[in-house]
């Protein structure tokens, strides 16, 4: 029997949340869509580059299999392989669906979909819509959801903040409690299933992050604190070249290095001259020095670590601070203007200076969380992928709660391939939506049968927290607590890690949590009080930061974005497969995989996160070949 007409709540209106909404509403269920702001303003709009899908339309013999392999290897084998297979197989169909929605993908002279090359791969596989792909994709799905909203099939709750889940006596998710960000009313909403699509958590590193100011991770932290498992929290991608900013750091595409940009610092950090007046001999081109073969075009993670070393370990940043130069001034102006026009305009607009006149000032920035809420999948043994429509796909460890988009952990392993984020956000939203529909079909009793006291108790509890935050009269300002969190995480749980500093970070995070007991909101307005919402978010960010630090502490190896130099395996220089030195290295690499190729899983407990590990499904590609950029 079809079980139509159930109530579903989707939290978050970026690509993942809107795809889930669309899929569930089209199946005949009513969706309430919650968002902190108008959904079209979600962080998905920031992705500029594109979305991967194999069309093999460039005469390069590209294949879905190669997309799968690139994604697995890009993630250092840490992601379960069946979901990756299904995502890559479905990517072209997603592109075609976006086209039907009205997304204007860029075209070839023949009028067909154009594809471009992106980092970490050898094939032109990335579809794009000018220089604003994420915005185009989000608006496409947003328009479809608005169509359903006009038909009363979707009801939006914009300007509402998710606070907590409501679970029944068996631990099944039966609804949520949320706060109206204007009236501050705390209210419960019943739901037969809940989808969390609340995005990333880069604000934990603020201001050194490319993420939007609402990418706090607070919602994911809240369900984690209510029992949802959180996986691979130690894996966070840092983009090496972000332009500096007090509010946030803005991504400068790696094309700047690809087209000939050089990274340097003055040899003397006290040198106060304008960069153009510093002679060549007094400049330190550290990437060219340290990596002569690749120079400035080393991969993202290596560039980030080198910049970290120069600034934080050698104290050689420009003026002794967290800055290095990314220099385009030696290049032909016409060439730069035609090849890097988008970068030039972003830098001019936000830094107020011209990269053709003076070098850009950059630093690595927290960009993307590979880790996130643990989600399940059902393997289809006949295809090796995920079984379509299984209610287990994208189910969190709390029955009735699903997660998709950047807030889940599923597709990127230890590091994400460029242009796979818009793909995983869209694909996982659709899969989660289909899974919810199956889950509802098998649901015996809905949330309408739940006694009101469950909801009332949770409303009282959340309202009490608000009262406490509103009336505390201590000396701790929530905005300053956020700054302290960002500085601490950037310094100690960032680009380069070591166990002594991670231990210190864990202690400092516990102390930071304690400081909330002495909070002072300094604002009593009971209408649209942004300090209250922010303070609650920062508290939950601290709880999530504890998971990240504990997960990083537990993993004694280097894998993808997680780098502990103490445990680095160095590839022997000038030795290749067959050389005894290389084979000895391969054996060490395999032994390391035998010990550490496993998913980190964190579970909430009142004192500190409980860390355990679970195996990774490697059924498509076994790790035989270490990554080699030579």
């Amino acid at each position: 029997m079809m079980n139509r007409g159930r109530e579903v709540i989707v939290i978050g209106g970026g690509l993942g949340g809107l795809w889930a909404t669309l899929t569930i509403a089209e199946a005949g269920h009513r969706v309430r869509l919650f968002s902190l702001f108008e959904v079209m303003r979600s962080h998905s709009v920031c992705a500029q580059g594109g979305i991967n899908a194999v069309f093999d339309a460039k005469g390069e013999h590209d294949s879905v299999r190669q997309h799968i392999v690139d994604t697995i290897k890009g993630g250092s084998y840490l992601a379960n392989q069946p979901p990756i297979q299904s995502m890559c197989e479905d990517a072209p169909g997603l592109i075609r669906t976006f086209e039907r929605m009205g997304v204007t993908f860029s075209r070839t002279p023949e009028g067909q979909l154009d594809q471009r090359l992106f980092g970490g791969v050898k094939h032109r596989r990335t579809c794009f819509a000018g220089a604003s792909t994420g915005q185009q994709l989000l608006h496409g799905v947003d328009q479809q959801v608005r169509r359903l909203e006009a038909d009363d099939r979707v009801h939006k709750h914009e300007w509402w903040e998710f606070l907590s889940l409501v679970k029944d006596a068996d631990g099944v998710c039966r609804g949520i409690v949320a706060m109206d960000l204007r009236s501050l009313e705390v209210r419960a909403f019943r739901a037969d299933a809940v989808v969390l699509a609340t995005g990333g958590l880069g604000q934990i590193y603020a201001p050194k992050t490319t993420c939007s100011t609402n990418s706090t991770g607070a919602a994911a932290s809240r369900v984690y604190q209510q029992g949802a498992r959180f996986a691979n929290a130690e894996f966070f991608q840092f983009h090496p070249t972000a332009m500096l900013g007090e509010d946030k750091t803005r991504l400068m595409s790696e094309a700047a290095r690809g087209e000939g940009g050089r990274i340097w610092v003055p040899r003397d950090p006290a040198d106060r001259r304008e960069p153009a007046r510093i002679p060549e001999a007094e400049r330190f081109y550290f990437l060219e020095d340290w990596y002569p073969a690749y120079g400035n075009t080393v991969p993202r993670d290596i560039a980030s670590r080198a910049i970290w070393k120069v600034t934080r370990e050698l104290g050689q940043g420009v003026g002794g601070s967290d800055r290095v130069y990314l220099d385009l001034t030696h290049l032909d102006r016409g060439f730069v203007a035609s090849r890097l026009g988008a970068i030039l305009s972003i830098y001019r607009k936000f830094a107020g200076s011209d990269p053709l006149q003076a070098p850009m000032e950059i630093f690595p920035a927290a960009h993307y969380a590979m880790g996130g809420l643990w989600v399940d999948y059902e393997k289809d043994t006949s295809t090796g992928g995920m079984r379509p429509g299984s209610p287990r796909n994208h189910a969190t460890s709390i029955p009735g709660l699903y997660a998709c988009g950047e807030c889940d952990y599923a597709y990127h392993g230890a590091n994400r391939l460029g242009a796979n984020s818009l793909l995983s956000a869209s694909y996982s939203g659709r899969v989660a939506g289909e899974a919810v529909v199956s889950y509802l079909n098998g649901l015996a009793t809905g949330a309408e049968a739940m006694p009101a006291e469950y909801f009332d108790a949770e409303i009282r509890y959340q309202a009490q927290i608000n009262q406490h935050f509103m009336h505390a009269r201590g000396d701790q300002n929530p905005y300053h607590l956020h700054q302290a969190l960002g500085a601490l995480m950037t310094a100690k749980v960032g680009v380069v890690r070591n166990n002594a500093e991670l231990d210190a970070a864990i202690a400092e995070l516990a102390e930071l949590e304690q400081r909330f007991a002495r909070l002072d909101l300094a604002e009593a307005n009971a209408w649209a009080n942004q300090s209250l919402a922010h303070a609650r978010q920062v508290f939950d960010m601290v709880k999530l930061a504890q998971v990240m630090a504990a997960s990083a502490r537990a993993r004694d190896e280097c894998r993808g974005a997680h780098y502990k130099p103490e445990f680095a395996l160095e590839m022997p220089p000038d030795k290749y497969a067959g050389d005894p030195e290389f084979e000895a290295y391969r054996a060490r690499w395999k032994a390391n995989n035998a010990e550490w190729l496993k998913t980190t899983v964190a579970e909430y407990s009142t004192d500190s996160p409980r860390i355990s590990f679970e195996p990774v499904d490697l059924s498509l590609l076994q790790p035989e070949q270490p990554r080699d950029y030579r």
């Binding site: 795809w19 089209e26 702001f37 108008e38 303003r41 979600s42 962080h43 709009v45 920031c46 169909g93 592109i95 075609r96 669906t97 086209e99 039907r100 929605m101 009205g102 997304v103 204007t104 993908f105 860029s106 075209r107 002279p109 009028g111 067909q112 819509a129 000018g130 604003s132 915005q135 185009q136 328009q143 479809q144 608005r146 169509r147 909203e149 006009a150 204007r182 939007s212 100011t213 609402n214 900013g245 007090e246 509010d247 946030k248 803005r250 304008e274 607009k349 936000f350 107020g352 659709r430 905005y479 700054q483 300094a522 604002e523 009593a524 307005n525 209408w527 649209a528 942004q530 300090s531």
Partner: protein, 255 residues
């Protein structure tokens, strides 16, 4: 030379309002900012230390922000009298004192926070979407589209619904029915889509009704303030021709 990284002090005059029904008032602040600081970064700094120039500790200023890259449209406000996104308004380029007011024409929620739901409602009014059969794959290749047609459409697809054009438009206001420039430009975009054009007549009828295209007074403010340089008046001109043709079709029949 002076080090660009040394902070300098700027003055902010901010129009405040505690709730939708209360009277507005002004607060003056002075704060140190660094080179490259923009209006949002200054407002963020101010949150931690909201003390006016006469030394009074006041509530932090409520305002909206998200992407900080001028692509989400959240932070639009009136800056020195001009509607624009605050994240790309560099303080170094602004006359001091810098005057900040909520985006006009939309109801104030609090301080610089406004309610732009009318903009989104108007997108419904003009049916700014392509009707698809469902969000599944139909296994059909995307239609061919010339690069020229792509480029013309792309201009309009970059609208981020910030509302600046509506704020600047003399015809758009809370108590008037005019739909406003941004939704009209979306009609232009959807009518050009290979399958979106199937509903062209429905959209044109929506903007031929009260508060539609004919309410445009051709002041051209919209195109002057659009942060994305969308040719809004060109779209309105094209829609004028489309509605004329539609009117003739309605009178004399035809598809």
């Amino acid at each position: 030379m002076t080090d660009a990284h040394e902070p300098r002090t700027i003055e902010l005059r901010i129009r405040r309002q505690d709730n939708p029904n209360s009277e507005p008032y002004w607060h003056h602040f002075a704060l140190p900012v660094r080179a490259g600081a923009n209006v949002v970064s200054a407002l963020m700094d101010l949150r931690g230390q909201p003390v006016t120039t006469d030394g009074t500790r006041v509530d932090p200023v409520a305002f909206e922000h998200n992407c900080m890259e001028e692509v989400c449209g959240a932070c639009a406000m009136l800056i020195n009298g001009r509607p624009r996104p605050a994240c790309s308004a560099l303080l170094a380029d602004l006359d001091s004192p810098v005057t900040l007011e909520p985006l006009p024409k939309f109801p104030v929620v609090r301080d610089l926070l406004v309610d732009r739901s009318r903009l989104l409602d108007n997108l419904k009014r003009v049916r700014a979407w392509v009707r698809i059969d469902g969000p599944w794959d139909t296994h059909e290749h995307p239609p061919r589209l010339s690069q020229q047609a792509w480029a013309a459409n792309y201009l309009y697809s970059r609208c981020m619904n910030c509302g600046c054009c509506m704020a600047a438009c003399p015809q758009f206001d809370q108590d008037r029915p005019f739909v406003g420039p941004a939704p009209l430009a979306q009609v232009r975009l959807m009518n050009a889509h290979p399958t979106g054009r199937y509903d062209k007549a429905t959209r044109l009828h929506a903007i031929m009704a009260e508060g539609g295209l004919s309410d445009c007074g051709n002041a051209q403010n919209c195109v002057r303030v659009c942060p994305k340089e969308i040719p809004l008046t060109t779209a309105i001109g094209e829609l004028g021709r489309q509605t004329t043709v539609q009117l003739l079709k309605d009178l004399f029949g035809g598809a």
